[in-house]
Point group: C2
Chain length 348, copies 2
């Protein structure tokens, strides 16, 4: 029994590892040069501030050490054909593999902040994205964990975090909530305050969606240590001669416009379907929802099945998920696929 | 291989059914007189308004028809002892069963609205809870789907829904978010408007946490059909001589106090750990978190394992979950337990 797992992020790795516990062989096909996905860039993850990088390191080691798992990097699926009950997949490097089932764990893409030009990203150096803030906060990152602003290398003391960039916005065509931005931004705000007591962090938000277990408590802790939350959609960022950024918003709690000047502004970008979503949907002949993410056969009852027998979905390919939900999805899809393969071999 | 599943709600039923697909025998022990849990009381569930009752009906039928599943109703576990690698459980009816693993799926309890006396629940007849509203909205319920107010049987036209009752409230000792109240309340608001175009529905909220796939779109639809959302914590409900309810709140978006008079007020109650959580924790020797819900060995990596080998957790016992997450948890714990049992039998 052999399964193709497309995508070597945390969901793909955990899925392959779980399947290996059932003595099922998997081939992980990863388009980039290295498995581990986006989480390896996170020094700390929410809500418990454990190391995302270590989490991934361990997953990578498990995958590399398992005799049941083959990792093919720099590789994509270019074509797939069904033969009776198995699939033949052609890979970009010319390899052809035969598998009994396919699990797509292709994840997501980060919203391109230049699509909301009112925030000045890529124009004003001191407007950065949350992904860049994450690397600034990393002790092993380019600034060794210091918040040095790009324009002049000075330590940023007044930081604004703007939530919902690229999410819940009809105008840019992303009406959906990206689910994790409120929580990862709150985590970042806490890190800034814990690294530098004098730093002032102001979060501009719409609704605080810290809904998961431990997320709300993290949000309460952020408020306790002095992170300021202002409810309001930011209308504009503009640059002052000294490189500072002026943020204008309407404080919808006080019902009046507010503005503030900050050394550094971080845009908490939301999530988009993976860049090759359309292509993949075509290759595998499966459907995507209005939001661009992939559709399962039934969100409640068959969350991993697609309209194609033997092709399954897991992780953020069906919409953004926090890391712990990706792990859960990986374990759940593994069970589903084991049961599918058992049926398949019984009927042969 | 035999597994005890404690709890016959949707998580327990789905877990037993998934295990049966792996040819594993399960015994469901349910304390009430009927399996199916709370979801059988929901005529429609969010975000797609499918029938919760049918969902449960099908699950119950699957459990009853599976030769691998035994259902014991009106039964609880009174004692449990570990013998080498198996468990002996004593049940309240005197039965003694031997099993290889135990899965606790004991769910949650609804917050008791009388604990927030400022809302007048159980004092003013026209203040009801969201569970009662659910039964009013059910075409097969006591009012045949009509919103007749308890005091005089008149059709309610002005309805207030108060979110976060028993949630995110330090004073009553529930600092956590109950996760599903924003979404189920929005679903109820839509049902009211769709049943009666003239009905006016006003929701008092803190943050709208419609974070799941399709949840945000449901919230947008509610606004489109005229459901009104006012951001503010309600301070008090009081009754007028005609039975109408006056609601006082601070509209935190406009920064001023608001009040309104409504025919009927529904309190969107949050969730608590199951009533016998303390007792169960004692019997099984496992831990609970500060929030009272059960603790898994590791939220990310071992979400189903407890500190006791062979005892697993699934569903809302570790914190509230929407129905689709309960199903996912059920599938995921099943995979975990199959892998555990395989190991167990290998090593014997």
């Amino acid at each position: 029994m052999r399964v193709l797992v497309l995508g070597g992020g945390i969901t793909g790795l955990k899925t392959a590892f779980t399947l290996s516990e059932f003595d099922i062989e998997t081939i992980i096909v990863e388009k980039s040069s290295e498995i581990g996905g986006k989480v390896k860039r996170y020094d700390k993850i929410f809500p418990d501030f454990r190391s995302g990088k270590n989490l991934v390191k361990n997953l990578i080691a498990s995958a590399r050490n398992s005799p049941n798992i083959t990792v093919l990097e720099n590789s994509t699926v270019t074509n797939v054909a069904k033969n009776n009950r198995s699939y033949t997949a052609s890979l970009s490097d010319g390899k052809i593999i035969e598998v009994d089932a396919i699990i797509l764990t292709c994840g997501f893409e980060v919203f391109d902040a230049t699509r909301q030009p009112e925030y000045g990203y890529s124009v004003y150096p001191n407007v950065i994205t949350s992904m860049e803030l994450e690397s600034f906060l990393n002790p092993e990152g380019p600034t060794k964990g210091k918040l040095l602003r790009p324009s002049d290398g000075k330590v940023a003391k007044r930081i604004a975090i703007i939530f919902c960039v690229g999410s819940r916005n009809m105008k840019i065509g992303n009406p959906y909530c990206s689910r994790i931005c409120c929580s990862y931004s709150t985590k970042q705000a806490i890190e800034i305050k814990e690294n530098d007591e004098e730093a002032m962090v102001t979060c501009f938000y719409m609704d605080i969606r810290t809904y998961g277990r431990g997320f709300e408590e993290m949000y309460q802790y952020a408020q306790e240590i002095g992170v300021k939350y202002i409810r309001g959609r930011v209308s504009e960022c503009s640059v002052l001669p000294d490189g500072n950024i002026q943020v204008r918003a309407e404080n919808t709690l006080l019902g009046k416009p507010v503005q503030g000047v900050f050394d550094l502004v971080s845009l908490s970008v939301g999530m988009m379907p993976c860049v090759d979503a359309e292509e993949l949907a075509g290759i595998f002949g499966i459907e995507r929802g209005k939001d661009g993410f992939f559709l399962s056969k039934d969100d409640d009852l068959f969350p991993h099945d697609t309209s194609k027998e033997g092709v399954f979905l897991a992780g953020s390919i069906t919409g953004l998920k926090p890391i712990r939900d990706c792990f859960l999805d990986a374990m759940s899809v593994s069970g589903r696929v084991v049961s599918y393969l058992t049926d398949l071999y019984k009927n042969r």
